[in-house]
């Protein structure tokens, strides 16, 4: 695999290894908390390295002059797509949906205590 084997070539082609963003272990823990992920210690170490490398790679965009350029959030240009305000019968019952939940009681989804 010519393309993938030669790391010198990759650095020319896409700017890989040009930047290194170090993120700390605390950063990773903070991101995990924001993402509602409870991670194991091994995984935290690996993610710290991988996320640091990926953020380093994407930082190349900082070089681009984007002054005066509008961002593109979607490509269809569709806006405010309306439909009639009527109930659509999807033929899915409340019981069917409750059956999907891991635990239910008295026709409601059961969850652990919040407080």
């Amino acid at each position: 695999m010519y393309f993938i084997r030669n790391e010198g070539v990759i650095s020319v082609f896409i700017g890989y290894n040009k930047y290194m963003t170090q993120i700390s272990r605390d950063d990773v823990l903070h991101l995990a908390q924001l993402s509602s992920l409870q991670l194991s210690d091994d995984e935290i170490d690996n993610l710290q390295q991988d996320i640091g490398n990926i953020l380093g790679y994407v930082q190349q965009l900082g070089e681009l002059d984007t002054s005066g350029v509008e961002p593109t959030y979607q490509v269809t240009d569709l806006e405010n797509v309306w439909r009639d305000d009527v109930v659509i019968d999807d033929r899915i019952s409340r019981e069917q949906l409750l059956e999907l939940s891991p635990e239910s009681l008295n026709h409601q989804v059961k969850v652990p205590k919040v407080l």
Partner: protein, 468 residues
């Protein structure tokens, strides 16, 4: 090339075969390729019942649909009846969908029969199908190599002729790249062509639904049936896609020079050059064009897509459906443990990068900057399409790589999609068509890119070239 779909439908109509025979034969073929691990489940009971219904209609002399009795496979991120919908994740391992995707409903209405669900990278996050929670799929041409991804299973069942077509999703190359790696046709339509209702969401601004087939004509028929406006997906475009009989003559085609740099595998470049020679022999003009922003597209993609993933995957909370971790005593613990157990490392990586680029203090530098760069990229395409009918690149920088070769470095894995992600960010239609094999016998694909909503013209040219 001969349409395999038409062949099945015609033989059923003429009483030379039955839908049941076709479905049973497909199940037999599926059983014979289990070593490839391309399928996660089979929908035997439902498929045979549907086949019998079609056979009863034929016997009664009733009209049957354009895909009547044609077996197909859906990537396992399409919600279907008859089997669980797992997204190749522990999170949804036992999820039985209460509804079917619009794409599936439309295909069924035309008489097609889903026989099974194909393996993928978990939640479609990956480029090799090695991120599946249930183990990787192997390449149709070399079982020591990857299938590509994320729709690897769908590509392999099409290449091994288990079915005449299979469904995939393409967010950054997940149909085109595995099509290239397995020597089949892979269509990614204009963003908004096919309803995504009932398909597990990944990145909402680039997710599209398309298909794999043995030939372009079959792919066009499947796309025609799936496409169209759907009130259940407000991002669908008004109906526009109808296949055309013949491609326009004397087309102007731009070969993107950044995609043919010396860093791309020499054999890949050779096959692309041969394909451009065939285009010229067919009376078309091919010129080298430049698109400098393609070199930055992967960086844009790995900001924008993780941002959208972090939002879309927030719904997997262990409360209403899917996995719920045991022994959690508080709600926060239930979320954290469920998501730790239900997601693969690549899912977590993308969710966390998304959280990072969207968080206050980093939003402008990463997410907003990427969306502005995306505008510049789109403008480069717009400029080129003022002069050219189509653009051409390799589909992937290399043929299929070895299993395990890129799993230790996520960026090396992301590079496999470097040719396909720019097209996705712009929402343009593209098709990967087989363009021969490497010296080692590995398939190589060429990517043809069309202007916005020019899917019919794009596929007509791909079809014209196929017969040469």
């Amino acid at each position: 090339m001969t349409s395999r779909i038409q062949n099945i439908v015609n033989r059923i109509k003429q009483g030379e075969t039955t839908a049941r025979q076709e479905v049973e034969a497909a199940f037999k073929r599926a059983g014979s390729i289990s070593d490839y691990h391309a399928l996660l489940s089979l929908t035997k009971e439902r498929a045979l019942k549907r086949a019998d219904d079609i056979d009863a209609r034929v016997a009664a002399g009733q009209v049957i649909g354009e895909l009547a009795g044609v077996p197909f496979v859906a990537k396992d991120n399409f919600l279907t009846f008859g089997a669980s919908t797992t997204a190749a994740s522990k999170m949804l391992e036992h999820f039985e969908a209460p509804l079917q995707a619009t794409a599936i409903e439309k295909l069924e209405a035309a008489g097609a029969i889903c026989i099974g669900k194909a393996n993928l990278d978990s939640f479609a996050h990956g480029g090799s199908t090695e991120n599946s929670a249930f183990g990787p799929t192997k390449n149709a041409y070399d079982t020591g190599r990857v299938a590509g991804g994320s729709s690897g299973g769908s590509a392999v069942v099409t290449a091994l002729e288990v079915v005449s077509f299979a469904l995939g999703t393409d967010t950054g190359g997940s149909i085109r790249q595995p099509a290239s790696f397995n020597g089949v046709v892979g269509v990614k339509p204009t963003y908004g062509t096919v309803s995504r209702y009932g398909v597990v969401a990944m990145a909402s601004s680039t997710d599209t639904i398309g298909c794999f087939a043995d030939n372009v004509e079959d792919a066009e028929l499947v796309m025609k049936i799936m496409s169209g406006r759907d009130v259940k997906d407000m991002t669908t475009l008004p109906d526009f896609f109808t296949p055309v009989a013949a491609a326009k003559v004397n087309q102007k085609i731009g070969l993107i020079k950044e995609s043919m740099s010396k860093d791309v595998d020499p054999e890949v470049r050779k096959r692309v050059n041969e394909y451009t020679e065939k285009l010229r022999a067919n009376g078309h003009t091919v010129e080298e064009v430049s698109m400098p922003m393609t070199n930055h597209a992967l960086a844009m993609y790995y900001i924008i897509v993780p941002a959208e993933i972090s939002s879309n995957l927030a719904r997997y909370d262990g409360i209403r459906y899917g996995l719920r971790a045991e022994s959690a005593t508080t709600l926060a613990e239930l979320y954290g443990k469920t998501r730790d157990q239900g997601f693969m490392t690549e899912n977590k990586r993308r969710i966390m990068i998304g959280s990072y680029v969207l968080s206050s203090g980093f939003f402008d530098a990463y997410y907003l900057q990427a969306q502005k760069a995306r505008t510049i990229l789109i403008n480069e395409y717009k400029k080129l399409f003022e002069t050219y009918d189509l653009l051409i690149t390799p589909t992937a920088p290399t043929p299929a790589f070895k299993l395990g070769e890129n799993t230790s470095d996520p960026i090396l894995m992301y590079l496999a999609d470097i040719m396909t992600v720019p097209v996705s960010l712009a929402g343009l239609p593209a098709v990967s068509v087989p363009a021969g094999v490497s010296d080692q016998g590995l398939p190589i694909g060429v990517q043809l890119i069309g202007n916005y909503t020019s899917d019919a013209a794009l596929l007509a040219l791909a079809r014209e070239m196929e017969s040469k």
